[in-house]
């Protein structure tokens, strides 16, 4: 179903994963999806975010601050590598040989796994696109999906917490996205 995402939306997901890895986060959360969107100010979502004062650097800075305050460790996936090392599997060596045989980046361990909120945001992305009658899923649907996650009784998604910390008027984003698309 990822093939129904626009190229821009797919690139934002890849950019988000790169952010997660670069920050040493062994998970792919809504905050990383948001970083992926903010990374491309030419995209529909990126443009709306930029118009509301959200740029990649500030978003990253606030993300790191919030996660650090919440005690979420930036392990770089070391516990997973250590666990395999204890079982006699040298991940660094596997990595080296895989890079030699298949090119750099083909093997990524540990690959950040999606959090429940990030999964919910992607599911909501599909619903937003369908509700709007759009066949492809674009960055605008992704941002709408992010905004819809974790409301009411559950804990807000980290992406929403980041936007709030950036003083973004959350209620203004949806109409802005709908006007922009």
């Amino acid at each position: 179903m990822f093939d129904l995402f626009t190229d821009r939306a797919k690139r934002s997901i890849v950019a988000g994963q790169d952010e997660a890895i670069a920050l040493g986060h062994d998970f792919m959360g809504t905050e990383h999806l948001l970083l992926g969107l903010a990374a491309d100010p030419e995209s529909t979502a990126g443009a709306v975010l930029a118009a509301h004062g959200v740029d990649l650097d500030r978003t990253r800075e606030v993300t790191v601050r919030l996660l650090t305050d919440a005690g979420v460790p930036a392990t770089g996936g070391q516990p997973a590598r250590d666990a395999l090392a204890a079982l006699g599997i040298d991940v660094a060596e596997v990595q080296r040989r895989a890079d030699d045989n298949f090119g750099a980046g083909a093997f990524q361990f540990p690959r950040p796994a999606y959090t429940p909120h990030a999964k919910a945001a992607l599911e909501q992305t599909l619903r937003e696109a369908k509700a709007l009658g759009d066949e492809r899923f674009g960055t605008e649907h992704m941002l709408l999906g992010l905004l819809a996650v974790g409301g009411n009784d559950s804990e807000p998604a980290t992406a929403v917490a980041v936007l709030t910390a950036l003083d973004v008027d959350l209620a203004a984003l949806r109409p802005a996205l709908l006007a922009e698309r």
Binding site: D3, T75, P79, A83, L84, F109, A113, P116, K119, S154
Partner: protein
């Protein structure tokens, strides 16, 4: 923000079809690798289960790598499925849309 850690109830089946890997990272895991040698046989469930998760994540990554390699070498989905001892449908559902999404296949 602790709510991110719980409620692992998202619709995994849908997401698996979408190419989203099974949620398995333990974001609260900050422990060192002290005395992990006996972990696959440890009586502490947390220890044994974390070893299983690490192995599963490695397995998933290796499957992805070798399915990609097989497809790049012209293998059919059926041959890959036979080699993996799974149905053609399950291997296709798991990998085809991901490969399309990343431009590895049209």
């Amino acid at each position: 923000m602790s709510g991110i850690l719980d409620t692992r109830t998202a619709c995994q089946a849908t997401l698996t079809r979408m190419g989203v890997p099974e949620e398995s990272a333990d974001r609260a895991d900050g422990g060192a690798a002290a005395d992990l040698l006996g972990q696959v046989t440890a009586r502490d469930p947390a220890v044994g289960l974390s070893a299983v998760v690490a192995l599963r994540r490695l397995l998933e990554e290796l499957e992805r790598l070798h399915v990609d390699n097989a497809r790049d070498q012209g293998w059919t989905w059926q041959s890959i499925a036979t080699a993996l001892n799974v149905s053609r449908q399950s291997v296709h559902e798991k990998h085809a849309s991901r490969r399309k999404a990343t431009g590895k296949e049209s």
